[in-house]
Structure formats: structure tokens, C-alpha cells
Symmetry: C2
Subunit: 349 residues, 2 copies
DNA sequence: TTTAGCACTCTAAGATTGCGAGTGCTAATT
DNA sequence: AATTAGCACTCGCAATCTTAGAGTGCTAAA
């Protein structure tokens, strides 16, 4: 199956994909022969195309149209044929202006996402996974609500706030809650959320024997607070911008497809799962078409990159657009943006 | 201009609109004559249609198609011709099950919005205007962030939390902020937000002469906190659900229109303004097509109603869908939902 | 291995046609 | 005076056909 692909065939595939990305039209043998710079006749090209078709790299919409790349063809293209063109000085400068580390993490993520969308004219996205280790707890506080519900407020990372409502077995007075919060603050402030969730609470519980009643209850509350958001990927840590730009693309002019896509955007779930997969790899990663196994993304590709500080992955950002996109431009944009974001975060640390 | 419309013409208009809403097809004179139950010939109907056309109530897409209602025709229909059909017992019961007053205000609004969307198969929306008087302050708290920024946390109404970041002239210690918060709490807790914003802070400031430095600064902070969200309608108090359902309608299969609509949904601004206008009127209100002067809503109508407790308007809810919608069904749904929500809120008060 | 040549296929875009639906007008009817 | 029947006419839609163009696959020659 994995037959070798000759240099010439690769060259042809490259030119074909480039041409198709530019024009959106199937590419015929004559055009290809002319544009390839290989001094071949159309007939030879035709033979080569027959081979590529057999390998599943290209296909023709019908007998007498040219060829278009298959997902597999795109894959080979981005993996080994693509020549990216780096951003110009000017563009990088412009980006520097746009991306300031103002406001809360949410706001920052939103501005980056919008930036990506604007630059690529597709949809931009930024994810801050809850598992990001780099968020340390700054303060915790409880407040009684009606009934047996308590509002827990976490301040994270000097910037972000997260509210969680938990339910408890009985009414607690403000004073009691104050006490509980004081205890937890003394134990937990300055710790990484990740550690709190996975180690510290357990340790506390194990040594609880020596503690007062109230402290034990404090631990129980804290467990609720920290467990809850971990179970379901919370929606607030994902920002998507410029979805409507996707409506402009011909390959998505099919209302049914579009609807599926937008429903997926609303759910977020599925897309988040995909992005989770990107957390491991580093550098720019690309999903082409339904490689993801996620059928609504049929005609779409995602280009993503993680961003990090001190070697720790903090999140994923990227864009989503039609499979037929200008990869050689989109890839550096995503790449550089990720680096800029990393730098901005490192600085504001 | 305002010629009288005879009883018969009204009847015909009514049947025409009903028929068009059902079928989506222009209605011809023969059909109309048959369905009207008026024992008229097609020719007579034709004359009547010519009159209605002159009055701007109907129009024909082309010479030899039937007539379709204009926006003005729809307007007359919903204003004086419509016979609503009340919901069945069963449907009301089902609604009761669906609408619980669980969770925060946000969550509640979201569930209502989704309910509306499901019932009508269009998009549902719920708005909680910031000016709602019925929200009383339960607690205020300050927390230092980096730089000179302070996080203010408001707990409102036993249920909702709102975070605001304010900027101050210098660094404050936790103890100082504690003090400021204590003071503000003693003065403000239990008051209505509306009053705080419009009266109380002013009064405090006027009597400030006798106060310590710190208290004065506390007031300044509070002013920032309470003013900020009032200036721009905050986005968090508006929930829209089921937008994608709108993609199913033929009249919105035009990608351009759809895109405009979804962009409007993302901005929210424009729609919020529209909804603001509904705050005054009571009962069910209807915007037809571009009556709103908002061109992206060209082919859409909004059906809204306010909900209230103790005679105070708390917010607006409603649906948005194609102008050609089943008003006789949608109107009671929106109406009853608003009443149920009012009841649920009154109860959980 | 490459190329020229050729028959063949398929689509997209126009042109042509007929049908059905519905109109407006006029003259007859009530 | 209002209503109706009758009729010529208009228009859109769908079906059918045609044509031009693009591109292919195959074969045989270079």
C-alpha cells in the first residue's frame, strides 16, 4: 500500500494543491504541466496523476474535470511539501501592538482569539485548559447563600475569579465560613491548582484526625469546590471568535453542513476534546478534514499551537477554517501568535 | 391613505395570512375563495385583493403568482385578526416540569431560553436588564490584585455573583480593603442595586466630611464598581439559545442574510437595544420584520413579553424567528412562559 | 519512459418548449 | 351597484435539448 512517491510526483502534488487552494477549481493536466516548471507534457502529467489517484492523494469530481486533493493529499502537502512564508516585520510589529496583556485572562484570551480571526479571516480560538498547572491559588472565600448552598469564590493567578456554588449538609454562619476560609487560605494560598486538586487535599484529609470539627468540614467543602470543575470541562475556558466568517466560504455554503458546524460550536464539547489532544504535541499541529473522526468538521481544518511559559503548556490556540485554506500563511500566523502569547504571559507573570 | 378596510376584506386577509403561514406559498384567488368560507367567487376575491394590495397589505412576487402578506399585512393580522389558541393543559404541565428555579440567575435564564427555543423551534432569548430594581445587594468584598487593580465581588440576590476589576490610585493592603468593605457592607447590604447606584452613594458622599480618610476612599471605590456596569449593557445578562434552528428556515437560506443575523447575535448590542424598548410595554409585544429599523431582522419577527414580580418588570423574554411564523401558537407560549417565570421568581424570592 | 493524437465523457450554460397557476379586464347577471 | 363568468394574457417553473469546453484514458509512435 505504502508505495513510494517519486520526487516528480511530489512536485506535481505540491503544485496541484497550491493551485487548487488558490483557485478552488479542479486542476487539469495541461495547467499542471505548464505551472509545474518541470517541462513535461500534459500526457505525462496525466500518467502521474493516475498514480497519485491510485495512492489516494487526489481525486476527480467527475470524469472530465481536473483533480483535487483528497484529505490524504492535503496531509502529505502540509507534512512534507509545504513551504511556509514567514511573516513580514511589519505584520509582527502590528501583532505586538494588538496583543497586550491587559485585563483578565478571559479578556486576554478573547482579544487573541479575535486577532487570529482577523488575520486569517477564519474563526479563531483560544483554550485555557483547566488542568493548566500554572494557575496558583491566591485566595479562597465562602459566602452563605439561601438554603444550604454556599458560594465559593476562588481568586486565581492575580487575575481571574471563579465562582462555584456548593451544597452542604446544614446551614453555616458567616463566622463559621470565615473560619473555614481562613484555615484553607493558610494551607492553600500560593499552591498550584493542580497540586491542590491532586495531592494537597488528600494529604490534609489524611492528617485530619488531629483537627477540629470545623477544619474537617472546611476540607470537605474544598473538595467539592476543586472537584466540581474538573469533572466537566468548564465552558468558560474556551473562546471562539469570528465564526460567522466561515459563512463566507463556498465549501460551507451548504446550509446543512453549516448548521452542524455551528451546533458543534455551541456545544463546544467535541471541539474541546479535539483540542485536548493537541496538548501533548508541541509546535503547530494540524487537523485535516475528518481526520479527527469528528464528522461536522468534514470540510474543515484546524491549525493549532500550544503556548507555554517555562516549558509548561498553558493552553492551546489556533484557527478553524475550510480545508482549502492558505496553510503557508495560516501556519506562521498561528505559530507566531502562540509565541507572542507565551512571551506576553511570561512577562506579566 | 387610511382608507377603511371592510369586514370582508379583513376576513380575506386573515385567511390569506393563515394560509401563507401554513404553506409558505403565495395564495391565489381561487384557493382563497374556497377556504374563506365566504361563498364568493374567485373574481370577487380578486377585486378585494387588488384593494388590499393598494393599501399595502399584500403583494405578489410576480404577475401570475398569488398574494403574500407584506409586513404591514402581518401587522394588521397580529393586531386585530389573530385568534390565538391557548396551550393545552398538558403543555402547561410539561412546562411546569421544565422550568425549575434551580441554580443561579444565569442558569435559570439559560434553561428558560432553551425551553422557549424547543417549544417554538426557533431561537429563544431571555434578558435580565441591569436596571432591574429587584436585585438587592447581599455582600461586597474587595481583594487586591497585582498593580493597582482591585477585584470587587458583589453578591446579589442570594444567587448571583458579579466580579468587577477597578483601578485605584495606590496599593492597598488586605487589611485596608477589609475595612473599606466592612464599612460599605454596613451601609449598603440589603439595599436595592438601583437605589445604591442612584441615591445612596450620592448621599454618602455628601455626608463624607465627618468620615475618616479610609471611608472616603471606600466610597470612591464603590462608585467605580457600581457605575461601570451601568454604562455599557453588560453581555452577561442576555441569553440566546437555539440560534441554529433558524438555519432550518427557507426564508433564511440566503447565506448573506444568515450571516448578518448571526453577526447581530454575536454583537448582541443591537438586539439588546430593541429589547430595551419592550421594557415599557406590558403583555406580549411583537416586532415584525424591519419595523425595528434594524435591517438584519428583515425577514424575522420577535415575540417578546416582560416578566415581573410585584408589578416590577424584571426582564424580557421571547423568541426570534422568521416573519412567517405560527403566531397563534408562539404568542401563547411566550405569554405563558413569562407568567410561569414571574411565578417561579415570586416563589423563590 | 515520454509524448502526440484521438475518441470519449461529462458538465455547465443557454435556448426552447409546454404547462399550470393566477391575474386583470370586460361584459353579463343579479 | 355589487357580483360573477369568461377570456386573453403573463409569468415562472420544470423538462428537454443543444452546444462548447475542458479534461480524461488509451494506444501507438518516438
Amino acid at each position: 500500500m505504502a508505495e513510494e512517491i517519486g520526487d516528480r510526483a511530489q512536485r506535481l502534488l505540491k503544485v496541484l494543491v497550491e493551485s487548487y487552494i488558490r483557485s478552488g477549481q479542479p486542476v487539469g493536466s495541461r495547467t499542471l504541466a505548464r505551472d509545474s516548471g518541470l517541462d513535461l507534457s500534459a500526457a505525462t502529467v496525466r500518467n502521474a496523476m493516475a498514480d497519485l489517484e491510485e495512492l489516494g492523494m487526489v481525486s476527480s469530481p467527475h470524469t472530465s474535470a481536473g483533480r483535487i486533493p483528497t484529505n490524504r493529499g492535503y496531509r502529505m502537502f502540509v507534512d512534507s511539501l509545504l513551504t511556509v512564508k514567514p511573516l513580514s516585520e511589519r505584520e509582527i510589529l502590528a501583532m505586538n501592538g494588538q496583543i497586550g496583556s491587559e485585563g483578565t485572562g478571559q479578556e486576554f484570551a478573547a482579544s487573541v482569539s479575535e486577532y487570529l480571526s482577523e488575520m486569517t479571516e477564519m474563526a479563531g480560538m483560544v483554550m485555557i485548559p483547566r488542568t493548566a498547572k500554572r494557575s496558583s491559588l491566591r485566595h479562597i472565600e465562602f459566602m452563605p447563600l439561601s438554603d444550604r448552598r454556599i458560594l465559593a469564590i476562588l481568586v486565581i493567578n492575580e487575575k481571574d475569579v471563579q465562582n462555584t456554588v456548593i451544597k452542604v449538609d446544614r446551614q453555616y454562619s458567616t463566622a463559621e465560613l470565615q473560619q473555614a476560609a481562613n484555615y484553607l487560605n493558610s494551607e492553600l494560598v500560593g499552591q498550584e491548582l493542580y497540586d491542590v486538586r491532586h495531592h494537597i487535599l488528600k494529604e490534609l484529609r489524611e492528617t485530619k484526625d488531629g483537627l477540629e470539627q470545623m477544619m474537617q468540614q472546611a476540607i470537605t467543602m474544598a473538595e467539592q469546590v476543586f472537584e466540581q470543575p474538573g469533572s466537566k470541562p468548564d465552558r468558560d475556558d474556551f473562546v471562539l471568535s469570528g465564526q460567522t466568517r466561515l459563512m463566507g466560504f463556498e465549501e460551507l455554503s451548504n446550509i446543512e453542513k453549516l448548521r452542524g458546524l455551528f451546533e458543534a460550536f455551541n456545544e463546544k464539547q467535541g471541539i474541546l476534546q479535539l483540542l485536548d489532544q493537541c496538548l501533548d504535541g508541541d509546535g503547530v499541529q494540524i487537523f485535516i478534514g475528518d481526520e479527527s473522526g469528528y464528522s461536522v468538521l468534514d470540510e474543515c481544518s484546524m491549525v493549532t499551537s500550544s503556548y507555554h511559559v517555562d516549558g509548561e503548556v498553558l493552553g492551546i490556540l489556533g484557527v478553524i477554517g475550510p480545508t482549502r485554506m492558505a496553510y503557508e500563511r495560516v501556519i506562521p500566523i498561528v505559530d507566531v501568535t502562540a509565541k507572542m502569547v507565551s512571551a506576553a504571559l511570561a512577562q506579566s507573570k
